[in-house]
Symmetry: C2
Subunit: 373 residues, 2 copies
């Protein structure tokens, strides 16, 4: 199948402040986005793709003169692909607080003339969705055909049905959860502590010191990677394989291939990801909990979305956002007699499966988009 | 049931060097140990208890004038308890490399006159077992009734049957594994990186700088704690409970009770545990793999132990050392027609269950020790 080809990121500036869940507000801000395919005459074929922790507006295609810059969901989005850009007009938006172009902690705080740093306001899934809704409106789209996302992106897709109910018809929520579990929060907290206690973090104002808390970012990423993979896939990929075919009897050198892999992933991540963004995004994950306002009753939370249509997808070996969590969503929807399809895909890859090209998974996605009205 | 009461740790010095698996040797060294109960006339009632990562020789009873100094397996070991000190003479030994009294990285390296620090030789489960065997011999015990351990302690119990086969009759291996999985090694590696990259680690020679790499130790302990508890028990204990009943919208302050718990555990640990010991013990865990010398054939490894008797115990919600890993041990033993009892205990507490007083678990242990000959 073909790719959408070379794409050019666009920017949109918003002069009106964004009121946030915390009570604070983001003064003026810029969002970076990309689009693929063509908006039809009545603007009824638009699909918004929401990104997760380590991704951006760059969903599909390549950036000019940047080999290897393929979008993060390129296997799903393109001409003839499950989310077919010959039929749909697909939008990817980078969320505020991110480090991939939209206004974030490394940008200038108008109140101080210095980078926001740790003073960037805490943003939530709901805030992101509100920011996305403004951009969608400005593009002349009154109602999206669908909002789609995996993991944290799936939470945004769910939030759309609750906050901007009339502005979408379908919600596609993949490998996600109605809230983080205590264990999920615990992993996030360890990653945050690693970053915050790195002396190079400087209370979040490291930009002024010309340093980056790389040690903390590395540890955060290594923890993340463990939770993205299933125990089995890690075992199949690395097992107990040694790097040098014999034990070196060292506590500091690399002995096992899995160590080499994790260190590499950590190093790479610390070169490009922003520490304040990591804190903000993990907090947005922690906070998402639409049932909270309804005394923990998720069915009550989804009552407002009962006219929407849903596809919920989970993966059997995903222990970060297990199928049981997706079933909670499905149960709450069914309780409201909502039109919901649910697929539990048998896949060995853990949470990462939502980014991979599993034929059964992509078959389900393709079928859903094909019959989408 | 009564406690063994006040106990006094003892020390034993070994002038003859201990040859290690790595080829290095530990010149002279001291082991700290405790005993409970009375050795019988023919020295046939001795049971050795091996400790795991964060424990020591102090298995049962209390130290004088130290309230709260109860031994780590006091619920199992004592008069009338499952491992009954009215019948058995129980020995706890602190392993070399530890930070609880036996020769370790904070002690003087005879070669330099300075603390060993990172130069303390890398020790393995096999090395520990060899050191323990010497102490047991010096106590006048030619054959132990049993060697017992949970987690890393269970690995030592298994290693006894392979290295000192004639010196024990029974092996009781609880919540353990025949080797770490890739995921287990991955968690260890993240913890080690957190410690090693803490600027206060000073390449393992922090003693000379009057500092302790507490940041790294805290992160290491937080990661550890997540893996000791089951997802469900963490959910039951903490769930999404907030500390202050409302969101504070902060990435750095504590919002959820689970964060408060983890930070507390990390802080406490960093006050008393040694960073070099953490590295050494996690490496000993990584390396343990008796099947390696037999091309991965665990059955072949256990052939030498076919005259021994085994009790293997696992816990359903232990995802660190899952029942599947215990079943690998059982399968290898059964293949050798070894006398093995296996109990898979339905318990909600994850890996920590081996330290707790579950009636079914303790029932199994009691029954096994009662009929022990």
């Amino acid at each position: 199948m073909r790719s959408v080809g070379v794409v050019v990121p666009q920017t949109m500036h918003f002069a009106e402040p964004l009121r946030l869940q915390s009570g604070a507000q983001l003064a003026d801000y810029t969002l970076v986005y990309e689009t693929y395919g063509t908006l039809n005459a009545d603007a009824s074929n638009a699909v918004l793709v929401c990104h997760a922790l380590n991704a951006s507006h760059h969903v599909a295609g390549e950036h000019a003169d940047q080999p290897g810059s393929t979008g993060w969901w390129d296997n799903l989005v393109g001409p003839g692909k499950p989310l077919d850009t010959e039929r749909f007009f697909v939008i990817g938006i980078n969320n505020p607080g991110s480090c991939f172009g939209s206004t974030g902690p490394m940008h200038t705080n108008p109140a101080t003339g210095q980078p926001y740093g740790a003073d960037f306001p805490v943003v939530t899934v709901e805030d992101w969705v509100d920011a996305q809704a403004r951009l969608v409106e400005r593009l002349g789209i009154r109602q999206l055909a669908a909002v789609v996302g995996g993991s944290l992106g799936g939470m945004q897709a769910l939030a759309w049905t609750l906050r901007h109910t009339d502005k979408l018809r379908h919600c596609v929520a993949v490998a996600t959860a109605p809230s983080l579990s205590a264990q999920n929060i615990a992993f996030n907290e360890v990653a945050r502590r690693a970053i915050i206690t790195d002396p190079d973090f400087h209370g979040g104002h490291f930009y002024a010191h010309g340093v980056v808390p790389k040690r903390g970012l590395r540890v955060a990423r290594m923890i993340g990677h463990i939770t993205y993979l299933s125990d089995d896939s890690m075992e199949a990929k690395f097992g107990r394989e040694l790097r040098d075919n014999k034990l070196g009897y060292s506590t500091q050198d690399i002995e096992f291939q899995i160590e080499s892999y994790l260190r590499y992933q950590g190093d790479k991540f610390s070169e490009y990801f922003d520490a304040n963004t990591y804190l903000l995004i993990t907090r947005a994950l922690d906070y998402f909990d639409p049932a909270r306002a309804f005394g923990g009753d998720l069915s009550a939370a989804f009552k407002v979305a009962r006219e929407k249509k849903f596809l919920v997808v989970s993966f059997t070996t995903d222990w970060r956002f297990s199928p049981a969590r997706s079933r909670e969503i499905v149960k709450a929807l069914v309780h409201n007699r909502v039109d919901v399809s649910y697929a539990e895909i048998e896949a060995p890859h853990g949470h990462d499966a939502f980014l991979l090209e599993d034929p059964r998974y992509h078959g389900v996605m393709r079928a859903y988009f094909e019959r989408m009205t």
